[in-house]
Amino acid sequence: MKNKLKVLRAMNDWSQADLADRLDVSRQAVNAIETGKHDPSLPLAFRISRLFEMPIEQIFDDSELGS
């Protein structure tokens, strides 16, 4: 799933490790989400949403998944 995590992280000048610490996941998890190789669980998506104070649908784009 496409997402803006990398852009949002860059805007805050955070490294992947910084973001991983804030979300309480591993750096590898952040990398996998950013590259679209892992779709976060709903609880983690909510944590990301709260951290960046943005709605989930503005961070994650599910248009490729179809309806």
């Binding site: 991983a20 610490d21 804030r22 979300l23 309480d24 996941v25 591993s26 750096r27 590898q28 998890a29 990398n31 996998a32 989400i33 590259t35 190789k37 892992h38 976060p40 669980s41 983690l44 909510f46 944590r47 949403s49 709260r50 951290l51 104070e53 943005m54 709605p55 989930i56």
Partner: protein, 168 residues
């Protein structure tokens, strides 16, 4: 839409889950190295008839103890240590176990096909029993340890390969 409210995210300090998962990945790295070293030593002792025993060398004994610890104690712990995995590590675990399951589902078929091929090409082998012909005078305990080590090495290898591929 207003920002979502609910559980606060951690702000400064790394969470315990992060530390545990970092340790999990670190132990996985060590297990892969130890599994490769252990398997190489095990095969060398068989094929090259190289039988350096614990006690022959303090260094070998110490090194071997560490390798054995990461071969037989740590991997089973990592296999069941769900509390150490974050959701990404858990996903890697599920994918690696699924691949391992497929491999073990088809491995016996491959073995049986090999036995049939051996029997067809060499009918005399049937008299000795196919497994005896295939494994010769391999001791059962050696075979068990080799299979166990191969199982752990395969699982650790698959897990690490998937992790490496995702990181590319």
């Amino acid at each position: 839409m207003a920002p979502l409210e609910g559980q606060p995210v951690s702000a400064d300090l790394p969470g315990t889950r992060t530390k545990r998962t970092r340790l999990y990945f670190g132990l996985m790295d060590l297990c892969l190295i130890a599994a490769a070293l252990g398997l190489a030593d095990h095969i060398a002792s068989r094929l090259l008839d190289w039988h350096l025993q614990p006690g022959d060398s303090i260094i070998y004994t110490a090194f071997g103890s560490v390798v054995l610890f990461f071969n037989f104690i740590v991997p089973p712990f990592l296999m069941i240590g769900k509390f150490m995995r974050d959701e990404y590590a858990e996903m890697l675990w599920q994918r690696s176990v699924a691949i391992l399951g497929y491999a073990f589902a088809f491995a016996p078929l491959l073995l049986l096909a090999t036995l049939v091929a051996v029997n067809l090409t060499n009918p005399a082998a049937q008299a000795d029993g196919a497994f005896v012909y295939l494994f010769g005078d391999v001791p059962a305990d050696w075979l068990l340890i080799t299979l166990w080590m191969a199982f752990l090495l395969t699982w650790v290898g698959i897990f690490q390969f998937l992790r490496w591929r995702d990181a590319k």
